[in-house]
């Protein structure tokens, strides 16, 4: 194997093993930051040794053994330091220390089991609410996906030192606030899981909002998020929201190829060529949603959004869309996760299910909503409904207003075109 092929193989092994490695080490040293450093040391050892001696048969076990040795070195070094500080050197103590190191070695040997539990602990610590969402995202990509600082920086369009700083600070915060390396208790679990799922969905949306020509690491975030989501769903298989989020991401990802036109223009869901949807991902999304629905308890926000996405995914054409069901699902979503944006979506669904007048009534109730004051989709939707009701002058004003609110040039053009065409309609009449 050439050196570069070996490096490729080491990257691949790191990708597969690093999270488990860090998780196992974190259980032992009770410090995620230190665990990551030890794992990195093991990686450096691999980079030195493997190109000369070849990739070992069990590369994961090799890395774990190397990391254990680094951990023992670390403990011994700290002990020596402590002793120098305290000036308590004595034969007996030294013997005790050696015995203690053996005990530690024994503990380390015992740590290979229950790796799944360790991984779950690592997920919860990396996404701990004591950290900002941005810090959680960077740390999660680093610790659980094995991404480099450079890759994370390119993905989020920020300079590398910013991400490096963010990760260093996050690790320090975890150490300083003594976040325990454990799975949260039952009464905390729902809130802590929500924090994990929020980070994963944030990573997904960052990737989903990437536009053509940007660094390939950006759209790759969608795949990272899907992978993380699938891992977490397997770690907490009884949590419907974990499957709900996976379902939502799989279905949204299935539309990736259909949602942009040849010139980079966005194509709205109802105008998309459904033959271009990725039907493997649709199938996976529907299967994940079915898993969420089979579990006990009411559907949460992710599962409900997935159920809405599934309504679209199941209809072969836009005309066949089950809008009555979608309106009902938005109604349920508005009850458990009320937000003006959900209300606006509900209004659209109601208008599709029961007519534009019904929809407009709901939209009009939102016009005084401060959170939507600068949200271009509110006047855009209102304009759309007004066109359907034949109130074209009002519609044109709404589209023009919407165009003035969006910062996206393509969207603005689309809205101005609509404003102009509502005028044309009137002339034709």
């Amino acid at each position: 194997m050439t050196v570069s092929a070996t490096h490729g193989a080491i990257d691949a092994v790191w990708r597969i093993e690093s999270a488990r490695l860090i998780a196992g080490l974190a259980r032992m040293v009770r410090d995620v930051g230190l665990a990551e450093e030890l794992a990195q040391d093991a990686l450096v050892a691999a980079l030195e040794t493997w190109p000369k001696k070849g990739v070992p048969d069990s590369p994961g076990a090799w890395l774990m053994a190397a990391a254990k040795n680094k951990a023992l070195d670390h403990f011994r070094r700290n002990k020596l330091l402590e002793r120098k500080h305290e000036e308590l050197a004595g034969e007996m103590e030294l013997e005790q220390e050696i015995a203690a190191s053996d005990l530690e070695a024994g503990l380390i040997d015992a740590m290979d089991d229950d790796i799944g539990d360790d991984l779950l602990r690592l997920v919860f610590v990396a996404c701990h609410p004591v950290l900002s969402t941005e810090a959680r995202a960077a740390l999660t990509l680093r610790l659980l996906c094995g991404l480099t600082t450079d890759e994370i920086a390119r993905a989020f369009l920020v300079p590398e030192p910013t991400i490096a700083q963010r990760i260093v600070r996050a690790k320090r915060t975890l150490a300083e606030t003594r976040v325990p390396f454990e799975v949260p208790r039952k009464d905390e679990l729902a809130a802590r899981l929500a924090s994990v799922l929020e980070v994963i969905y944030l990573v997904f949306n960052e990737g989903y909002s990437a536009t053509a020509g940007e660094d390939w690491m950006r759209p790759a975030l969608c795949e990272e998020a899907l992978r993380l989501g699938r891992i977490v769903a397997e770690l907490v298989p009884k949590e419907p929201e974990a499957h709900g989020l996976v379902a939502l991401m799989e279905i949204q990802a299935s539309r990736a190829a259909a949602r942009v036109g040849p010139s980079g223009d966005p194509i709205l869901l109802l105008d998309q060529d459904r033959a271009r949807w990725d039907h493997l991902l649709v199938r996976r999304g529907l299967a994940a949603l079915a898993r969420a629905e089979q579990l006990e308890g009411r559907l949460g926000p992710y599962a409900l959004q997935a159920a809405i996405a599934a309504c679209h995914a199941r209809s072969r054409t836009a005309q066949e869309t089950d809008w009555v069901r979608i309106a009902a699902l938005y109604d349920a979503l508005a009850q458990i996760a009320p937000s003006p944006v959900v209300e606006l979506n509900r209004a659209v669904a109601v208008s599709m299910a029961f007519g534009p007048a019904e929809g407009l009534e709901l939209v009009d109730a939102l016009t005084s909503e401060p959170a939507l004051k600068h949200y271009h989709l509110l006047p855009a939707v209102r304009g759309d409904l007004l066109v359907k009701l034949g109130r074209l002058d009002e519609a044109r004003a709404e589209f023009e207003h919407a165009a003035s609110l969006t910062r996206n040039a393509r969207e603005r053009k689309l809205l101005l075109d609509r404003a102009a065409s509502s005028h044309k309609f009137r002339v034709l009449k």
């Binding site: 092994v13 799944g116 397997e234 770690l235 033959a275 996976r284």
Partner: protein
């Protein structure tokens, strides 16, 4: 990126209809499949019945010709496949290396072509548009 790991078991080309791997091999393979799933990389997988239960359709002179299995000339046949989503070719190979395969089995690792691999000019602009037209046409005739 997506890869197929294609399982090629030597001897499967001659296997009798209904032939199945032994229980121990199946258990090991299920454990492997589970590890792929838990790592979040598995998209789908299928196992295939032996060629003796299948058929080949060839096109001599552009006309379809059906040959029932087994196929005397086949040296290698597929036993099944995994589709995985990974970051690199090296990662796909690393996963293939972890398969608890036997000595007579080979895994071929092949990248799946994606929409974005094709230049836009060879993809019809709207694959589903014609289907929609046909459907609308049917609707009118009803």
């Amino acid at each position: 990126m997506r890869f197929m790991m294609l399982m090629i078991p030597k001897g499967y080309e001659k296997a009798a209809p209904g032939a199945m791997p032994d229980a121990k091999a199946i258990a090991a393979m299920m454990k492997y499949n589970e590890s792929l799933q838990k790592a979040g990389v598995l998209l789908s997988l299928e196992g295939l019945h032996p060629p003796s239960m299948g058929a080949r359709v060839s096109f001599p002179g552009g006309k379809p010709k059906v040959t029932d299995g087994p196929f005397a000339e086949a040296k290698e046949v597929l036993g099944g496949y995994w589709m995985i989503q990974v970051k690199s070719r090296a990662e796909a190979i690393e996963w293939a290396k972890r398969c608890p395969a036997s000595e007579n089995e080979t895994i071929e690792v092949r990248q799946v072509q994606e929409m974005s691999d094709f230049p836009p000019e060879i993809l019809p602009p709207k694959l589903g548009a014609r289907e929609q037209e046909l459907r609308d046409e049917l609707q009118k005739k009803r």
